[in-house]
């Protein structure tokens, strides 16, 4: 089967969603309310196209002045004023439309596309064209004619329109693809989303994908659940990574199984971050580590490690990377992509996520969380990285600890539970292994003490001392 020649958008996430980019010579509608990002998107695609040697004709009807548009785009990284009038030409055909009608516009576009040798045509104002048309048929004819003559010379077309998403517009049937941009309010924050509603001749990634607009222009984060499934990295079954606390390695049947994902659950103060620091302290050139957290800054983490007496690798160098995402208006897929990109580019073997709650808080659409975590886990398993992730449990001190969400437990490979409880007016910390896939483990509950070099496993706690195990 012959692969279609592609016109890449220059935006990685979007090219991924479009299965390689736009199809050269095809026509697309980009629709969205004013402010949704159509103009920036189409210009960014245009300038990426120019950078690759293409030539662009950008046609407006009645919009902001071209100069105002240029001023808006000056701060954006992709915009290059020196290309204006050279590889990219901006013209308005409003007068022609008003005085002579749609047919004259079609003719002018054909002539001008040829005159400029354009390989990409952006037409901003399909809605206006519809106002001028006498019937729906005229608009379909207009789109068909522009599309046809552009395809004839191998020119790709982007029609920009403000028409509403729910309208059934006749022009939608003519084009090869429709991309929808939305900018909505979720609670108190805004969410920008992109959806490919139609994609003829190409298998686009479906559903809503997040994007953001910054000085870099538009960055698109494909929805993690929509990414193609990947094969789990093959690891030797017996291969184990030390968690950094000897007695605990023994409880785990030797250590954390390589490539597995372990949930470390416990209330605040139970020692989750401390255990994570132990795990990170075992990093080496052969096993580079990444701390991906939402709470401690790199400095605070190092201070804590120093106070505990645990040695962490130096600031410079690849052995240990500490990445902290503030708990703000985060985009769930952006967090996931950032994590996966770092794991891949740094060749991470030991990953400490502190904690899953940071991802959970970023979710705008909560029902997707189970599938999100499942897919994120699959992506991590494909990288063969051994992951330890924390999960905070509500009850601070107590016997009856509610297990994390049932469904999430089912996705993870292993679970370690840290608990705090009082006995004889003393605070006792304990650790137990709740679950291990594919490995024997010690089912007893042990005390955990703080020693000069960090955590130390204490004796097994008797049945009398230990509160009943939480329900699975």
């Amino acid at each position: 089967m012959q692969q279609a020649h592609r016109l890449t958008s220059g935006i990685d996430g979007l090219d991924q969603i479009l299965a390689g980019g736009f199809i050269s010579g095809a026509s697309y509608i980009i629709q969205g309310q004013p402010g949704a990002g159509k103009t920036i998107l189409s210009n960014q695609i245009a300038f990426a196209h120019i950078a690759g040697g293409g030539r662009v004709l950008y046609v407006t009807l009645l919009s902001e002045s071209h100069e105002r548009l240029f001023q808006t785009m000056d701060p954006l990284a992709f915009f290059d004023r020196s290309q204006l009038g050279a590889a990219i030409t901006y013209i308005s055909v409003f007068q022609t439309l008003r005085d002579e009608g749609l047919d004259a516009v079609v003719k002018m576009l054909r002539k001008e596309t040829k005159r400029q040798d354009a390989t990409l045509l952006v037409f901003d104002g399909l809605l206006n064209a519809r106002d001028r048309a006498d019937t729906d048929f005229d608009v379909k004819t207009f789109v068909a004619e522009v599309q046809g003559q552009a395809a004839f010379v191998g020119c790709t077309v982007l029609f920009l329109t403000s028409s509403s998403v729910t309208d059934l517009n006749p022009e939608h049937t003519m084009v090869d693809g429709v991309i929808d941009l939305t900018d909505t309010l979720a609670g108190v924050r805004t969410v920008r989303e992109l959806q490919v509603r139609k994609s003829r001749g190409s298998r686009a990634l479906g559903g809503l994908h997040k994007f953001e607009i910054s000085d870099e222009g538009i960055t698109v984060y494909p929805r993690i659940e929509s990414l193609p499934a990947r094969v789990e990295a093959s690891v030797r079954v017996e291969s184990k990574l030390s968690i950094g606390v000897p007695g605990l390695d023994a409880m785990l049947g030797g250590g954390l199984p390589e490539g597995s994902i372990t949930l470390l659950a416990g209330p605040s103060g139970s020692g989750k971050t401390t255990l994570g620091i132990h795990f990170l302290s075992q990093a080496s050139d052969a096993e580079p580590a990444l701390h991906f957290g939402f709470f401690e800054t790199p400095d605070r983490l190092r201070t804590k490690a120093a106070a505990l007496g645990i040695r962490l690798a130096d600031q410079e160098g690849r052995v240990l990377t500490i990445e902290r995402m503030p708990l703000a208006d985060n985009i769930l897929d952006k967090l996931a992509h950032k994590l996966l990109d770092q794991v891949r580019s740094l060749g991470i073997k030991r990953l400490f996520i502190d904690g899953f709650g940071g991802f959970e808080r970023a979710a705008v659409h909560r029902p997707r969380l189970i599938e999100f975590f499942a897919c994120l886990m699959d992506q991590l398993r494909a990288e063969g990285v051994t992951t330890l992730a924390t999960w905070e449990i509500r009850e601070l001190v107590g016997s009856d600890v509610a297990a994390p969400a049932r469904e999430i437990s089912a996705i993870l490979d292993n679970m370690i539970l840290l608990r705090l409880f009082e006995e004889d007016n003393q605070l006792i910390r304990s650790v137990s292994i709740q679950k291990m896939r594919d490995s024997h483990f010690d089912t007893s509950v042990h005390a955990v003490d703080f020693a000069p070099n960090g955590l130390m496993l204490g004796g097994a706690l008797s049945a009398r001392q230990v509160p009943p195990h939480p329900q699975r």
Binding site: T60, L62, S65, H66, E67, F70, R81, L84, G85, T89, Y90, I91, S92, V93, F94, Q95, T96, R98, M108, K111, E112, R115
Partner: protein
């Protein structure tokens, strides 16, 4: 009453310039591309042309070149206004009496128009 031809594919900008020129007492016609402008000046020669650069069919630069190449029109005063190509136009002083960058101050362009229109009608 001096006659001015305004050439710009951007309708709103052409209208705004027309308004301020008419307020000053000029008679104004507008066309939306270089090719139409060439036809217009051949049909009825204005006292001055104010033209945009980036336009379909024929750019402001190509229009000025065609005018200068035509013996009958060669000394027609032309002022160029441009968003992005001002510098290209300034490299061709023989084509334009003046070059303005968008956005321009209305008072500045009116002064230039008054200067070059006056020169022509002597």
């Amino acid at each position: 009453m001096a006659h001015i031809l305004v050439v710009d594919d951007e309708f709103l900008l052409a209208m705004m310039l027309t308004d301020i020129l008419e307020d000053e007492g000029y008679e104004v016609d507008t066309v939306s591309n270089g090719e139409a402008a060439l036809a217009a000046v051949r049909k009825r020669r204005p006292d001055l042309v104010v033209t945009d650069f980036m336009m379909p069919m024929m750019t402001g630069l190509e229009f000025a070149e065609a005018v200068r190449a035509d013996a009958a029109l060669a000394n027609l005063p032309i002022i160029l206004v441009s968003g992005a190509q001002g510098n290209i136009a300034r490299e061709r002083p023989e084509l334009f009496q003046a070059v303005f960058d968008k956005p321009y101050r209305n008072s500045a362009i009116l002064k230039a128009i008054a200067t070059y229109v006056a020169t022509d009608t002597e």
